[in-house]
């Protein structure tokens, strides 16, 4: 992966570009354009960004990891840094690998004379783009100027990039588009001395119709494809973009999404729509999930289908709202009163957000139960490229079944999964059911009978046991037995997979298991764990009072395996591959 100086240009397989600036500078759109281009040139891509929790201004980065083969993580170290201001330069120079290139805005940045082997290239982004556009446009075009420079330096597909830019800005106005293209051309033409241009090896991801987008968008589309047409929510970062998209998208599909007065109203509204015979969704981030817990317990008790999305962020309390963490796992599994089992699923990457959402819809409906989707800030906001989903295969029709209730309708049969007859269903014997959160008999009549409570509790539990029995084997890669097994969940998938590959390359016998079904867990995990000397669970939460992260604790209690160890990180940042690799090497020593 040599980039620099004198030697002849060599085709790149990977490059990590970090754009460091302030949130209003449009660095997100440079990143998004690059990501979209990667998808359309059969390259792979994964992005990473930090958002300041202030509304305007505030330092922010957008990192793009481009690769000709599979890209599994947003990149440990940057090959190229683009710094817009002095603080972005000062704070991010360390993220550049030795031999990397730093492009900086010479209108704002003074170069630091440092010892490290870094190629410094100053370009007056601000004044050059003002000049290109014609002076009147302040410095609005400088992000597109930079995109042009990157396009030239990395020999990217210029024509496609111009198409993508035109599609985006063409919607706004001709002026905006003209200025963008002027800035782009100026950046493209800027003479960057001292380095060779660095073309990529051709992309290897040749599937037809690759698309690129972020996790929240795919989760939203998955919910619609899974048959959700109604829902409600209350804004909170990083969940909000899902509700915003559902609000504008659902009417096109004949549904509606309501902004409720708070999370308690939102979940109640969704349960109301589910009771009416639809499959409804609500969602939030950590604090909002807490507010919804009483009603989620109700949905378990009343046996109503409900999909609850939780985009985890740094906690507890209002915590670090724009940072990533995986610390709502216990809340998702147990966060209600009484024995109120529910299903918990976690998507592993942006593409998987779509399929996890569909699966959540299917399970909620099939088992008449709440299903929580645990995503997190990292997948929610990052962009990846992947094949367009085949809707013929994955689409679930929304269904409102108003057929006649059976005579002597038993809404809560002990020997079958509850299928509620929604209001509007006529009844041949003129008797109508009441759905309830009070403990009840099979007819839904409130019942304090001790034996009935035990039977009904078992019934609600057994549904999940039945589901566990039907679950597919979790994703597995690496050695089938050996020195170490990684067990991961959610967005740590990529870094864990790459760490596994590196350790295998170094001669260790390492396997890796990635869980999408967190609750219930699939049967037989204990047997898999026994084939390894060590089991290591990397997760972005604290090791807790007893020394184990949240999934690790669950796995220890389920499998009674004392070899399960935790690797925890709570910096509001995702794992670097190296951190996982090093922790494994410690155990393997």
């Amino acid at each position: 992966m040599s980039q620099a100086s004198a030697s002849a240009p060599q085709a790149l397989r990977n490059a990590v570009i970090r754009l460091a600036g302030h949130s209003q500078d449009g660095i997100q759109s440079i990143g998004a354009f690059l990501a979209q281009l990667a998808g359309s040139t059969a390259q792979d891509v994964m992005t990473y960004m930090t958002i300041p929790s202030t509304i305007s201004g505030g330092p922010s980065i957008f990192q793009v990891h481009l690769g000709s083969g599979k890209v599994l993580h947003p990149g440990d170290e940057a090959d190229t840094l683009v710094a817009f201001y002095q603080d972005s330069y000062d704070n991010h120079l360390h993220s550049l690998r030795d031999g990397g290139i730093c492009f900086y805005d010479s209108d704002h940045v003074t170069e630091l004379k440092e010892e490290r082997d870094i190629i410094h290239i100053g370009i007056p982004f601000t004044s050059a783009s003002i000049e290109a556009i014609g002076g009147s446009a302040k410095d609005r075009g400088k992000n597109i100027f930079v995109l042009g420079t990157l396009c030239a330096v990395y020999k990217l597909d210029r024509e496609k990039l111009v198409q993508i830019i035109s599609r985006k800005f063409g919607k706004k106005s001709e002026d905006v588009l003209r200025n963008a293209l002027l800035a782009f051309d100026a950046g493209f033409a800027w003479q960057v001395h001292d380095i060779n241009h660095m073309p990529f090896a051709p992309g290897e991801n040749e599937e037809q119709n690759r698309i690129s987008t972020d996790g929240n968008t795919m989760l939203t589309l998955g919910l619609i494809a899974g048959g959700c047409r109604y829902g409600a929510g209350y804004p909170i970062t990083p969940w909000s973009s899902i509700m915003e998209t559902l609000r504008s998208e659902l009417p096109k599909y004949g549904g509606m999404f309501i902004q409720a007065e708070d999370e308690l109203a939102a979940v109640a509204l969704a349960i109301g729509a589910s009771y009416s015979g639809h499959l409804a969704i609500t969602g939030s981030s950590g604090p909002g999930l807490s507010l919804k817990s009483e009603a989620i317990g109700y949905a378990t008790m009343a046996e109503l289908p409900l999909v609850v999305v939780n985009i985890q962020r740094g906690g507890p309390s209002t915590g670090m709202p724009t940072s990533v963490e995986q610390s709502d796992l216990m809340q998702a599994i147990y966060g209600s009163h009484g024995d109120s089992p529910r299903v918990v699923l976690a998507p592993r990457d942006v593409e998987d957000c779509f399929y996890t959402a569909i699966e959540a819809c299917r399970i909620a409906r099939e088992y008449s139960t709440p299903v929580i989707i645990l995503s997190d800030q990292a997948i929610a906001t990052r962009i990846e490229a992947f094949p367009e989903p085949d809707l013929e295969k994955h689409w679930i029709e929304p269904m409102l079944d108003l057929s006649t209730c059976p005579a002597d309708c038993k809404p809560y049969p002990l020997d079958a999964i509850t299928r509620h007859a929604p209001p509007g269903c006529p009844s041949p014997d003129g008797r109508y059911p009441v759905v309830t959160g009070l403990e009840h008999d099979e007819w839904g009549h409130p019942s304090g009978n001790p034996v009935m409570h035990e039977k009904m509790t078992a019934k609600r539990r057994e549904k999940l046991v039945k589901l566990a029995n039907s679950l597919p084997a979790p994703d597995f890669f690496g050695d089938e037995q050996g020195d170490l097994l990684f067990v991961g969940w959610g967005s740590t998938f990529g870094p864990i997979k790459e760490a596994t590959e590196r350790l295998q390359d170094a001669g260790h016998r390492v396997g890796s298991l990635h869980l999408r079904h967190i609750h219930p867990l699939r049967n037989g995990l204990a047997d898999i764990f026994h084939r390894y000397t060590h089991v290591l669970v990397p997760e972005m939460n604290d090791c807790g009072i007893y020394g184990f992260g949240q999934l690790a604790s669950l796995l220890r209690s389920v499998t009674c395996n004392p070899n399960i160890q935790s690797l925890n990180k709570v910096q509001g940042l995702t794992f670097r591959v190296k951190e996982i690799e090093d922790a494994a090497l410690q155990l393997l020593r």
Binding site: S274, S276, G424
Partner: protein, 297 residues
């Protein structure tokens, strides 16, 4: 209040009655239930289109005593639940029942929002000035000085004025009645049900167990007065006039305080859906999503 014309078949009390209520003898809620049977039965609403929704409290047990589709939810959240039903199923007649604790205290915020959104449903609040189910604690309408288990020296917090709150929140039909005045209660319920939009009937319903005599001042048989709102001389759409009524000293007037027509959220949301769907009449839902994917290439 439904958007489809109801057929004429009437429902008898026998058809509408479920289990015998578990309320204490002579609890005011019995009269409310009887009135509901009477009015709903006479309006000829199709049986399967009636939905009864409630939160938690003695009064919130209502759905169990009505033979109709029903849902008994958690404390204070009946209104947002009913909002989900009403918005997603405009063919249904949605009724919400609850107490003053459920509706004005834990669920107080939802009352304001269901009113301002003008959700199409009828809400009967059985106000007994006390928490019944949890056995005699102070409620948001308990008068100052009244002793309860949580105010052994007498209530000190100023009671809320639900009528004023409803007026200021934007409810489009606001009425007040007394469970001991069956004819009046029937009339209020019927008008609420026929009203398109958010209709609330604040019903004084005595808790004979913990607050007997609370509403005697509004009951001529107990030596009180039952004064009616004179609708002929009023502008029913004037919030100022409604506020004036709301400010009257207890027991005040009974009847409709305020009535107006404003588009319901139901209508507005469904109009958006119609409009959004009419823009792509030739695309299936899957094609719509494929189009969206195409934009991400």
């Amino acid at each position: 209040m439904s958007e489809t014309a109801p057929p004429a078949k009437k429902l008898t009390k026998k058809e509408l009655k479920a289990d015998h209520p578990t309320w204490c003898p002579a609890c005011g809620d019995f009269a409310v239930l009887a009135s509901f049977f009477n009015v709903v039965g006479n309006l000829g609403i199709p049986h399967e289109k009636i939905v009864c929704v409630a939160g938690i409290g003695c009064s919130s047990r209502f759905p169990y005593f009505v033979n109709a589709h029903g849902i008994h939810f958690i404390h204070g959240r009946a209104l947002p639940l009913a909002t989900g039903i009403s918005l997603s199923r405009p063919d249904l007649h949605v009724f919400v029942f609850g107490g003053d604790g459920d509706g004005y205290s834990i669920g107080g915020n939802h009352l304001t929002h269901a009113a301002r959104k003008n959700i199409n449903l009828s809400y009967v609040i059985m106000d007994n000035f006390v928490y019944g189910l949890t056995k005699n604690q102070t409620s948001p309408t308990t008068p100052i000085g009244r002793r309860s288990k949580t105010d052994p020296r007498g209530a000190i917090d100023r009671p809320i004025n639900p009528m004023a709150q409803l007026v200021s929140s934007g409810a489009t039909f606001i009425a007040r009645t007394h469970a001991a005045q069956v004819k009046h209660m029937n009339e209020m319920f019927e008008r609420a049900i026929l009203h398109p939009g958010f209709a609330v009937v604040e019903t004084l319903s005595e808790c004979t167990m913990f607050y007997p005599g609370a509403f005697d001042a509004g009951n001529p048989r107990k030596g009180g007065t039952f004064d009616l709102v004179d609708e002929s001389s009023r502008d029913m759409e004037s919030t100022a006039a409604a506020m004036e009524l709301a400010e009257e000293e207890f027991p005040g007037k009974f009847g409709v305080f305020y009535e107006t027509k404003r588009p319901t959220k139901n209508e507005l949301e469904w109009a958006w859906i119609e409009d959004a769907r009419s823009k792509t009449p030739d695309l299936s839902e899957r094609d719509l999503m494929r189009k969206r994917f195409a934009g991400m290439r």
